[in-house]
């Protein structure tokens, strides 16, 4: 099963939740989520999407415990999406971060250079970017969007006027490179997720993860090497309806190694260490609903 950005929900279902939140019916939205997620977890093809990850994270589960893991994973995902809508529409969200982690991020953002924020589809990856809004710099989010995707970013609900724009870079190849490099050159912040290959043509590297091998994109690390800008690997989670930044690590990649995967590998591995740590501590906040592992992809 390949990755797609398309949401399970239809445009009508998304609009239904937007309607509830606009009328401050959050409790009703939460209630609906329990039923909707329960319904979805009864559908084998939906359970299959999460099984690739869950079978590796919880290898000795019975069918029933596997269903429970699946339910917990999807319920967390649904609440995360709801939190995103609530913030987007009502501008209402509690944000917290471990002090040291926040400091690492903020110190890097004070530097007079472009900066790559590297995260993954873990926890509140989009909401975690809220922290960046306090920084007086334009923010760019690199995200591949499948045609017909209904999902909206929190900032696309336009509840708030921002001093600096948030730009979504959804192009691929040379156009994406130009957008990213000009943004970095102008000292902007570029946010990317490092756990998915957006397109077959992307340069990738194989790394071990959860007992198998996955392919991760190399471009983020190559670009940092060329542009001589720091990368901050950061992850945030949703805890009790509150967004919490829990991991930040600053890395600097030497210039001139951008076409040498073997020299970039140690930096990619630091990202993987972060992923593994998050999966260990927050097993129900890993939101890659497709088969990431190379050895299963041909099945």
């Amino acid at each position: 099963m390949k990755w797609t950005s398309k949401s399970l929900g239809s445009r009508f279902q998304h609009n239904f939740f937007y309607f509830l939140i606009r009328f401050r019916l959050v409790f009703l939205a939460r209630l609906f989520i329990y039923f909707i997620v329960f319904y979805y977890t009864l559908i084998p093809s939906v359970r299959k999407r999460s099984s690739y990850y869950l079978q590796r994270r919880f290898p000795n589960s019975t069918p029933f415990t596997m269903w429970k893991h699946c339910y917990k994973l999807y319920i967390n995902f649904a609440f995360l999406l709801l939190t995103r809508i609530i913030y987007g529409i009502q501008n209402n969200c509690e944000l917290d971060a471990i002090a040291d982690e926040k400091q690492k991020l903020m110190d890097t953002l004070k530097e007079d250079t472009g900066c790559i924020i590297l995260t993954a589809h873990i926890g509140a990856w989009q909401m975690g970017l809220l922290e960046l809004e306090t920084v007086q710099r334009p923010i760019n989010i690199v995200q591949f969007i499948d045609p017909g995707d209904n999902d909206k970013h929190y900032f696309e609900h336009d509840a708030k006027t921002r001093p600096h724009p948030i730009t979504v870079i959804s192009s691929l190849g040379i156009q994406a490179s130009l957008e990213i490099s000009t943004a970095l050159q102008n000292n902007e912040v570029v946010c990317m997720t490092g756990d998915r290959i957006a397109h077959e043509s992307e340069k990738k590297i194989e790394v071990p993860f959860l007992g198998g091998k996955i392919a991760l994109p190399l471009a983020h690390f190559s670009i940092a090497s060329i542009a001589e800008c720091p990368i901050v690997i950061t992850f945030s989670v949703l805890e009790k309806n509150k967004i919490k930044g829990v991991w930040a690590e600053r890395i600097s990649i030497p210039k001139g190694i951008h076409r040498k995967p073997e020299l970039l590998l140690p930096y990619v591995q630091r990202f993987v260490v972060g992923l593994e740590n998050m999966v260990e501590h927050y097993p129900y906040q890993f939101f890659n609903f497709y088969d990431m592992w190379l050895e299963n992809n041909d099945k």
């Binding site: 190849g173 040379i174 156009q175 994406a176 490179s177 130009l178 957008e179 990213i180 490099s181 000009t182 943004a183 050159q185 102008n186 340069k203 471009a219 190559s222 670009i223 060329i226 542009a227 001589e228 951008h258 076409r259």
Partner: protein, 88 residues
Amino acid sequence: MTNEECRESLKINIVKDLCLEDMEASDILDDSPLFGNEGVGLDSLDAVELVVLVEKRYGVKIASAAEASTIFISISTLADYIIEKKKA
């Protein structure tokens, strides 16, 4: 720097900075496409390097990707842009 000098200097710097091993500066024509299968054949990582090269070597910052798309067509378009920015 004249436009012609700029074009020659760009060819030398592109071959050198982008480590185009199978290419000499003299192989690059003024109007050959920089990207794609024809012409110079630069790829997406080269695009990033080119943005950095133009700033470091010529002190010219590219304002946006939209601007980059119109100037990173060939050596001629790039040289025209650099000369124009230098004059400004």
